[in-house]
């Protein structure tokens, strides 16, 4: 089976699984316990935290381990909106964010916050000038994703950071779940102030994730209880989860798949260009590992099934929205013409993919298109 759904999840790497199992064996104690085993687990947890903060370039920064990207995104949006409410009531995000961001903002609107949504162009890119005009004195939080999970658009996050930091007192959160490990992500210089990372998107484990932020920033907690993670995220801390995440992040940093992915993406864009009933949603500012296509007047689901029959796993626009019958909010936002709306599929590369698999993907694509032609004639 050839796996091209790495934006939905990645295969856990063996050495990360080994670390996780070994850490569960040796350091299973509760890090909040006073006894020796508890202290050891706490030390391991802190070492993991330190390793990650160092890789992100902010050894003094703050890091909250979470159950994954969704919790981290919720905590970033809801936690910082509440923590900064004394400064203002205005929030900004984009129309193409992941549901874990959009629904958190919708919740805040219900709480009396005012939210502005940045629109995107046909390639899914926001406009810096729109951001600049929407920024206000009372803007406290801006959340802009780095790479879009459905069509791979890369937002100009450094420029956003510059504009926000020089024109307002707002903090910038960026959902870097899809970009971490594929594009440079750090918390240094013209960068977001807060980022979200998810372990299972970088060959780590599901149920691991984090919210990292520059020194001095603190959200209001959204989970209440025993006061773990400095009171910011209650719930028994897991040293083995932290280890698995720290290791995944370290291995991601040392890997370099960018060039390989970019070459494959270029190759597939060129390849698809020769067929009339396929269009490529390939923003010029596109992440190297995601390429979305759409087939004329046919459901994406049909393509997914056909590819699966032929031993290749791909997905419709995103795993999260794949069960919905309507076009996703991202596809709506980029105003894809009606005839292309329903046929979107996403191919996403991971470090285990090989050159031959791209060739097989092309061959399967040709067969599918021929079938479509015959059906439509």
């Amino acid at each position: 089976m050839i796996y091209f759904d790495n934006s939905a999840t990645t295969q856990p790497e063996e050495q990360i699984l080994d670390s996780f199992v070994e850490a569960n064996r040796r350091f299973f104690a509760n890090p909040a316990s006073l006894h020796k085993a508890g202290k050891e687990a706490e030390k391991l947890l802190e070492r993991s935290r330190q390793q990650i903060l160092s890789i992100l370039g902010v050894p003094e920064g703050e890091l909250i381990f979470t159950s994954g990207g969704t919790e981290a995104n919720n905590l970033a949006v809801i936690g910082f909106a509440h923590a900064l409410r004394h400064r203002g009531n205005h929030l900004i995000t984009t129309v193409v964010e992941h549901p874990s961001i959009l629904q958190a903002f919708a919740y805040l609107e219900g709480q009396g916050f005012e939210v502005d949504y940045l629109s995107v162009d046909r390639e899914g890119v926001i406009s810096i000038s729109e951001l600049e005009t929407k920024l206000r004195k009372d803007t406290i939080l801006v959340s802009i994703m780095h790479v879009n999970n459905e069509i791979g658009t890369v937002q100009p996050i450094e420029k956003c950071a510059k504009i926000i930091h020089s024109n307002s007192r707002a903090v910038l959160h960026s959902d870097t779940v899809q970009s971490f490990g594929k594009l440079p992500v750090s918390l240094q210089g013209d960068s977001p102030d807060i980022i979200t990372i998810s372990g299972h998107k970088i060959h780590g484990l599901k149920g691991t994730g984090l919210l990292a932020m520059k020194k001095g920033l603190r959200p209001q907690p959204i989970l209440l209880g025993g006061g773990q993670e400095g009171g910011l995220r209650s719930g028994t801390a897991s040293a083995p989860n932290a280890v698995a995440l720290a290791k995944a992040i370290r291995l991601t940093e040392s890997g370099n798949d960018g060039k390989r992915f970019r070459d494959w993406r270029k190759r597939l864009i060129a390849f698809c260009g020769q067929f009339e009933n396929v269009t490529v949603l390939a923003p010029e500012q596109g992440a190297p590992h995601i390429i979305s296509l759409s087939f004329h007047s046919i459901k994406g689901e049909v393509a997914v099934n056909f590819f699966q029959e032929n031993g290749i796993i791909i997905s419709t626009s995103s795993a999260c929205s794949s069960k919905s019958k309507q076009a996703s909010h991202v596809i709506e936002a980029i105003q894809l013409p009606e005839k292309w709306k329903s046929g979107v599929i996403r191919i996403s590369f991971g470090k285990n993919n090989k050159e031959e698999e791209i060739t097989q993907l092309e061959q399967t694509l040709v067969r599918f298109i021929e079938l479509l032609k015959r059906g439509q004639e």
């Binding site: 670390s19 070994e22 850490a23 006073l34 006894h35 020796k36 202290k39 030390k43 391991l44 070492r47 993991s48 390793q51 280890v243 720290a246 290791k247 370290r250």
Partner: protein
């Protein structure tokens, strides 16, 4: 970063006479120890100042971050080097001043012209560079006396050397330049602060700690090692001698009446410490005692305890208020370690009503029924010595 070297100014050492070289050598050795991971950083010591150089900017920056905790340094300045050419100097000046907020700040250029062949004289140079800087940063205000930003330019044959920053050092004397002492390290808030203050005066330390397993835990010992490790970051390694104390404590509890047992315990600790001190070639014993803080720290108690030895007992905190001690502990990063909640041997058998004014004759009388000497010898012999800073290899490395 534009810095190519760091100038280090000595603290009190520069006031010394004939012994100065010894102090400078010690400071240099301590710095070498602190920079042991920074292989590209070179230290060049001169009579009245020192220079750090490196081709690796990151390592030079890391070295600079370590300087504020090394005793014996009064202040330091990062220096940028460029060609001894007016245009190059002007450009460098803009770069290094541009790192900081300039709006509304007072400013002055200071020139030192060691290379007299340079075409412009001091006054001309000062004007040319000053004018150039002012056109770039119109927010600056020229002020000759005590300016907030002082741009110092030195013209030597090898090039021009510029600096605009002076950072404060830790002061004090290089650790090890004033002999070696044994610190009684309990795990509380006071004793690490006492150790720190002695190190600041140039005294290098071994530490002694009394453990009474199974009444005291491994974590209590771990805490003491962490404290010693923290102290060792101020310029010299600190070894910790852990004394097995259980048997002695149990004997005291059985033999000596409750209200003087505390005094006896302290006296025996001091006798043990004195033996370790001799074996480790230390000259004095340092404690964290502060007058009146607890029953063992009244003048009467101190006198009764001190009777067992004529070795100098240094008590740098004797007149310091508790709140001031806590403040220092927080500043030097020992407070958070000290407040970890583990029992130490002083608290496990502590009597509910210890005498604040113990009578020496009585204490000696009750102790007289037991021969503690063999137990003391054994405890000293069976001590376990730990090195701090502990080595970097660690049991988590394979997991991460």
């Amino acid at each position: 970063m534009h810095w190519t070297e760091v100038l280090i100014r000595y603290g009190e050492i520069s006031l010394k006479g004939r012994n100065r070289k010894k102090f400078v050598d010690r400071l240099r050795a301590n710095m070498k120890q602190a920079f042991r991971d920074l292989t590209t950083v070179k230290i060049k010591a001169e009579r009245d100042r020192m220079f750090l150089t490196s081709d690796n900017e990151t390592e030079l920056q890391q070295a600079m971050e370590k300087l504020p905790s090394i005793f014996g340094i009064h202040s330091f300045s990062p220096i940028a080097k460029c060609e001894a050419d007016l245009e190059a100097i002007k450009e460098k000046a803009i770069q290094i001043i541009g790192d900081d907020e300039t709006e509304g700040k007072t400013f002055k250029v200071e020139i030192k012209r060691t290379d007299k062949s340079f075409p412009l004289v001091t006054g001309e140079l000062q004007q040319a560079i000053g004018a150039h800087v002012l056109t770039h940063f119109p927010g600056l205000i020229v002020q000759m006396k005590k300016p907030e930003i002082l741009l110092h330019v030195e013209i030597r044959e090898e090039g021009a050397f510029l600096t605009s920053k002076v950072f404060k050092g830790a002061g004090g004397m290089p650790v090890g330049s004033n002999g070696h002492s044994l610190l009684m390290l309990s795990g509380g808030i006071d004793s690490p602060v006492a150790g720190y203050l002695m190190m600041k005066r140039g005294v290098s330390l071994d530490a002694i700690h009394f453990a009474s397993p199974p009444f005291t835990s491994d974590q209590a010992q771990e805490k003491v090692l962490d404290l010693a490790e923290r102290l060792s970051s101020f310029g010299a390694a600190v070894r910790v001698h852990v004394i097995p104390f259980t048997e002695i404590q149990q004997t005291i509890a059985a033999q000596v009446p409750n209200n003087v047992s505390m005094t006896t315990t302290r006296r025996l600790m001091l006798r043990i410490a004195d033996l370790v001190r001799t074996e480790e070639n230390a000259l004095a014993i340092v404690t964290g005692e502060s007058l009146g803080q607890v029953a063992s720290q009244t003048l009467e108690s101190l006198t009764a305890i001190n009777e067992v030895t004529s070795t100098p007992i240094l008590r740098p905190l004797i007149s310091t208020d508790k709140l001031d001690i806590i403040k220092i502990a927080e500043e030097i990063g020992t407070y958070d370690i000290s407040i970890r909640p583990y029992e130490d041997c002083c608290t496990i058998f502590s009597p509910s009503n210890p005498k604040t004014k113990p009578k020496l004759e009585k204490v000696v009388y009750y102790e007289g029924f037991t021969d503690f000497e063999p137990m003391i010898q054994e405890a000293v012999r069976n001590r376990v010595t730990y090195e701090t800073p502990r080595s970097a290899t660690d049991k988590f490395d394979d997991l991460l």
